[in-house]
Structures are given as C-alpha cells and as structure tokens.
Amino acid sequence: MIEFFSRYGAEIIQHTLEHLYLVTIAISISLLIGIPLGILVTRKPELNQPILGFANIMQTIPSLALFGLLIPLPIIGGIGDRSAIIALTLYSLLPIIRNTYTGISGVDPAIREAGKGMGMTDLQLLFQVEIPLAMPVILAGIRVATVIAIGLATVAAAIGAGGLGVFIFRGIQTINNQLLLAGAIPSALMALIADFGLGFIEKRFQIKE
C-alpha cells in the first residue's frame, strides 16, 4: 500500500487535478449556456421542443462515441482537452436547461401576477423573484450535471485529455486492479463530495412557503 502510494501518489494528484479541471471548465460553460437557454425557453415556449430536444439527443449518444466523434472535427475537435470539455459540456446541458426551465415555470402564478401587478418589469421579475425562487431546482440540476460529468470525465482519457481515467484505462489494459482503483476511487470520492457540497448549498436556498 505504502509502496503503491509512494510510486503513484504524485500521479494520482496530477490526474485528480486534471479531472477537476475538465469538469470545472465543462460545468462552467454549460452554466453559461444552459441557464440563459432555460430562461429563454420559459419566455418563448415555442423553443421548448428544439432546445430541450437537442439537449436530450446529446444525452442519448453513448459517451465513448461522442468523445470519439469529436476527434476528427476541425476547430472544436481534435485530441485532448478541448474535445473532452466540449463533450462533457454537451452532456451537462440537459439537466441544467431542464431544471432552470422547470424551476422558473414552477413559481406560483399568484406571486408572478402580484409582482407584475405592482409594476415589475420582466427583468425585475426574473432576477428578484423567479430566479431566487427557482434556485433550489436549478441547483439540483447543477448537482446532477456535476456528478454525471465527474463520472464521464474518466472517459476523457480515451482521447488523450488526461484525468483519472488514465489509471482506469491503464488498469484495464494491464489487468491491474490496483491501478484501476487508483482512478476509480478518487473519481467516486470527488463525485460524492460534489454531491454533498452542492446538496448543502441547495438546502441553504430552500424557501419556506
């Protein structure tokens, strides 16, 4: 055990950081895209089908295939971080868009009407009322997206983007369970910590009615 850590410790830390990097960037981008799209869908219901449809289809593509499909694409694709981040972003979009939409549409119509009736503009209503009240649901979406992305990011190693998947693939190829677990355990721990941490924040935003 000690021997294992002295041999692989530095590498575990390096791949964990890579892993964290991939997930953080991917989730940040999907927040920047997904939350505005979710809000847009609440304002323009006719966009509901195409936008949620697109995000849905992205999630149905097998992950390994999606990573692979990005390799030959110019500009956005190729071997390495960029493709991996794009694939993870595409996967994370659905829960974020959907929960933003669900959260905002779930705001009590009486509250919305009261705000409107008192002279709030659409933006005031959005930022002062709808988003704060939808926050727990939006955060639940971010939590799901993050946990999924941490798991999926192990596949990124297949296209040379690094991360904890490096250990897993190496472990599979050399039939070495110790190596496999050196990738799987930190990745699982990271997912658990993210789940717990985001769940905690989610509860802080819970509003009593």
Partner: protein, 251 residues
C-alpha cells in the same frame, strides 16, 4: 354628475374577448375618487377580468379604460401599475422577502432611498395594526393568514397610490378575522380617501364596504347603484344575491 377630471377610472364601451368568448361585454362604468366600488358577481362573471383591465394586466379588445384621465394603452404599463395598489386573494407575498422587503417593493421599484422606504414600512405596519419591530424582519411563512393579508394591504398602500384594486382580498380568511379586517379596512379607507375597486362574491362584504355596488353577470354590468338602490332592485341576479343575506330558519 362630476366633471371628467373628477373621475378616477372610467370604462368606455369596453369589451374583452378570448377565443370568441366575451369575458367583459360592453362595460361602461365611472368610478369616482374616494369611493369604494364593489364589483359583485358569481365566479366567472368578469369581475377579476375587469380589474385586470384597469391596471393593464390585460388590454381591452375594444373600447377604452381611462385611469386618471388617460387611457391605459397610453400609460407606460409599469408606471400605471406602480400608481395603483393591487391586492389579490392569494396575496402573492414574496416568500423569499421579509415583510419589510415585501412592503417596500414598489418604493424600491420607484427608486426611493433606503431610509425613506424603511420609515414608510414602519408607518404602514402601524397603519395595518402590526407591531413593526416584531414583524418587519419576519418572512411570510411565519405569519398567520390575517397577518399576511394585512401585509398585502400595506404593500399595496406603500407608494401612496390614489387607486387600490382588491380582488377578494379577504376571501380566504375565517369569518371572524375577515370581519375584523373589513372593519379595519373601512376605517383605513375613510382615513386615507383612496379610490377602491373591490371584487367580491360575498354580498355581506359588499354591503359592509360599498359606496356603490356594481353587479356583474356573464361579463355584463347588470346593476349599478348604492346599497339602498341594490336592495330595491328588481333585477333577478340582484334578487338572487339578496336572498343569500337572510339567515335560514333552523327547524
């Protein structure tokens, strides 16, 4: 007959149609400053639609609604609504705002300074008989139904609007609390002299508060007059409402 400038709200041949159904049918109505006009009617008779036409939450299909001498379509809708207090049955207090923030909402939208808002909130809480230092920092879920409705009234009064629209504001309360709030509200209205349009289906409430009663049926205003005129009315719908006032014989 008061002069034009002395009319707070006026509906001129107003129709409101949704999918070929007339929710408001050729409504003509003048509301005078300082009166409590009760819109009485069954569910679906067009009362709520009428008050939403006044603050332009909906726009007439035909005709004009004049508020303070200007058509609602000419008003900037946000300015119009900030000039009209609005209380609805579900109250619509923001659950994530404290009582103080809820009451201070319209002043905040109007860009008042913080101290002025805070002074105003304390003044209003006193006006609706809630102890300010006790209630200002509370959240709506910590209040009883009657207290919430008081906060709702205070919120509507916050920027001192000349007109108040009230849509069954006391409908969800138990009868004793309701009467208590009706009494207080009547007194408050006499003190402040606001023009009030008050929607209810409760004939007792109508008589208790009304300067005049407008009776609506199927989107039409079928009767309009003082409570005394209402009692004398031969209109069948008015008769039907008056029947609800008698205490049934217990055998």
């Amino acid at each position: 007959m008061p002069k034009k400038s002395e009319i707070a709200v006026e509906c001129l041949n107003v129709n409101y149609r949704v999918n070929r159904r007339l929710l408001v049918d050729n409504l003509n109505l003048q509301i005078y400053p300082g009166e409590i006009l009760i819109l009485l009617g069954r569910s679906g008779s067009g009362k709520t639609t009428t008050i939403k036409l006044i603050n332009n939450l909906i726009t007439p299909t035909n005709g004009d609604v004049m508020v303070l001498g200007k058509s609602t379509t000419q008003w900037n809708p946000f300015d119009l609504r900030r000039n009209i207090g609005y209380v609805i049955q579900e109250i619509g207090l923001f659950p994530h705002f404290t009582v103080e923030q809820n009451i201070g909402l319209v002043p905040q939208l109007l860009g008042w300074e913080r101290d002025r808002i805070s002074d105003r909130v304390y003044q209003l809480l006193k006006l609706v008989s809630l102890e300010a230092q006790y209630f200002a920092k509370r959240y709506p879920h910590q209040l009883s139904g009657g207290q919430r409705q008081r906060v709702g009234v205070a919120r509507a009064l916050a920027a001192d609007p000349p007109i108040l629209l009230m849509d069954e504001p006391f409908g969800a309360l138990d009868p004793i609390t309701r009467l208590e709030l009706q009494r207080e509200f009547r007194q408050l209205q006499q003190q402040l002299g606001k023009t009030v349009v008050f929607v209810t289906h409760d004939i007792q409430e109508a008589f208790f508060l009304a300067s005049r009663i407008g009776l609506m049926q199927d989107g039409r205003l079928v009767e309009l007059g003082t409570p005394q005129e209402f009692i004398d009315s031969q209109q069948p719908e008015a008769q039907a409402f008056l029947e609800c006032l008698t205490i049934p014989k217990v055998s």
